[in-house]
Assembly symmetry: C2
Homo-oligomer: 380 residues x 2
């Protein structure tokens, strides 16, 4: 078996159209030719983010944009509320600590979404909170947080800062409509690009707050970037090829239609959950599942990491592992980006086969059939 | 559903490694640099064809190499025995007629292999036969002919000319060991390349016969090519990028190991047949199935072409149609070239879903399960 099937939640498969665009002849970035490409990508990003404001492109991984949100919006010692429901919630906490903020943590059991009432309670207990940080989709636990509802609580209050790394392009997260103050994402998820680009959009009041924000920043100085990206291609050397690819991937998404893109992700994730359930496997996030990836507990006594190694090394099927306390217990099946119905079928069929190899009595085709029932819904 | 799943018997999917190699900077073909690439490809082809003689590369489709076999080996009016078991058998007949040969036809029911006794009988009835033409794998009927056995009959007698278009790289067809006098193939099948290159190997006695062969030829003059390909990159401008790709695809096949490549194709085809049978679908070639593609009759009253259109246009899954008298009755599922276990699963799951759309009572997952059982055999 030589063919590779990449079903991880980033990097994700790259469409040939995007790979080809990235192979275009290198051009200089301080030219009208590149400015045109950059501007087209900028306009596409605004639609994707649902904002009239700028969406800035940074040559970094998604974490760079997370750091930019912190360093541009706050001053030392300011209090922020961090909703920590997984590895990426933890990352907000680490960044806040690294920059000398005063984070209050809402720690959530992995696989659960934060409760609105808990956020409300903490905001009341800490009226001096200047920011609330969250993941829209917590990739490590395949859980969706109620971003739209929390945005209502922060309106007029603390800035609401959302990590949309496995949310933007997977589900609708309209920045202006919902009242999000900062939304960040990375290139290697729903945008169907290699890693290396990050994106951030700020609200008007967030831009206002940058003026008094005293944390140090240089590479991620968003005011400097905004000025330079409105008139050219940014303050520092942009990732030229990735931006060629970005223009192509945004155009693919526009051709499919954003509503269709979201519906496809939702359907793939529902199909995967139905398959897991049909196979008697427990879901990691049964109540608030993210449409980007599905976490599944493997049966007791089975080492999930061994199953994943087997899938990757013997079957060329790459799924993702559980992290920290979920290590060895959980696998995560991604359905984000350039994936379709038969990638879900591949993941489920491969899992059925691998589990049998590990001695689990799995009736072949049962999970596949459950997925097929749901994937059929897309067919006219 | 945006993602394309190409499961046709040519063109077949192109591995990124091969696409990348074809994107290398264009170089001039009359250079030591290109000669090196050409020579590496030549050596790889000799291993693949199992011959100590030259395997010539032609910038043409596979039909060009078929024509070359005829025009270089025969003189006007010579008698040839054509085994015609499908569209490509018919093509031998058409070429033989176009060049003024005197073909004797063995016409075989589509989906059946030729019987050795029939070939023996015709050779006895026509002792003046100068050549026997056949397909190793008749793509149109997904049938394998007994090439090894026929080669025993032609030893010392008429030249044995084999169309290996969906055989070379799919199963072992060793030219020297079996005593084949001409073996041709094209680039867009097991070689995992786009269409545009054809290949031909001749035996010593075939080369000998070219000397007296009086049919007209210019572009496909194999003696001219042999001379020029032994010392450079051929008589006319070679398809430079395709040959870059060829070197890469031969190297991928060598890395996998030819025995493994053949075993993979055999397993994928067995899995597809098992799936079809589990779904109650009749096979087009149950007795002598080709490992390159599987022909399946759809249930009575179902228009196979409509199902194929639906698969292609609604599900982005491209399978192949039945031709001529099989049109509307049969579909062909390819498993040739850059395909793996989960391409079989995709084809079967998609077929299950499409058939249900057309009102066939198909239990989801039943065909998939049958395929999984066989695909498992490859797993350590």
């Amino acid at each position: 078996m030589i063919k590779q099937y990449l079903l991880s939640p980033g990097p994700t498969p790259i469409p040939n159209e995007v790979a080809l665009a990235m192979s275009e002849t290198m051009i200089h970035h301080r030219t009208p030719q590149f400015n045109k490409v950059f501007e087209e990508a900028r306009q596409g990003l605004k639609k994707l983010f649902g904002t009239k404001n700028d969406v800035l492109m940074l040559a970094s991984s998604g974490t760079g944009a997370m750091e930019a949100a912190v360093s541009n919006l706050f001053s030392p010692g300011e209090k922020v509320l961090v909703i920590n429901g997984g590895k990426f919630g933890e990352r907000w906490l680490n960044i806040a600590n690294a920059f000398g903020l005063n984070p209050v943590e809402i720690k959530i059991e992995w696989g659960k979404a934060v409760k609105i009432e808990e956020v409300e309670k903490q905001l009341k207990a800490h009226p001096d909170t200047k920011g609330v940080m969250i993941q829209a989709s917590e990739t490590s636990t395949t859980t969706l947080h109620p971003v739209k509802e929390i945005a209502k609580l922060t309106r007029g209050g603390p800035l609401f800062i959302v990590d949309g790394v496995t949310a933007v392009g997977v589900l609708s997260v309209p920045v202006d409509e919902w009242g999000i103050d900062a939304l960040v994402t990375g290139s290697q998820k729903a945008l169907m690009l290699p890693p290396g680009l990050a994106f951030i959009a700020l609200s008007d009041r967030a831009w206002e707050k940058t003026k008094g924000a005293k944390l140090p920043r240089f590479y991620f100085d968003l005011n400097l970037e905004r000025k330079n990206q409105q008139t050219g291609s940014g303050a520092f050397t942009p990732a030229v090829s990735l931006i060629f690819g970005l223009r192509a991937s945004l155009s693919l998404m526009e051709r499919e239609g954003l509503d269709q893109v979201y519906a496809r992700h939702a359907r793939m994730s529902r199909a995967t959950r139905a398959a897991a359930t049909a196979l008697g496997l427990k879901l990691l996030a049964p109540e608030n599942p993210s449409p980007a990836a599905t976490g599944v507990f493997l049966p007791d006594g089975i080492d999930a990491d061994q199953v994943l190694d087997y899938l990757r090394d013997q079957m060329n099927v790459t799924l993702a592992e559980g992290q920290d306390q979920l290590k060895g217990k959980v696998i995560r099946i991604a359905h984000v980006g350039y994936m379709g119905a038969f990638d879900v079928i591949t993941a489920v069929a491969a899992l059925e086969m691998a589990l049998r190899k590990f001695g689990v009595e799995i009736p072949f085709g049962r999970g596949v059939a459950a997925a097929q029932e749901i994937l059929m819904e897309a067919l006219a």
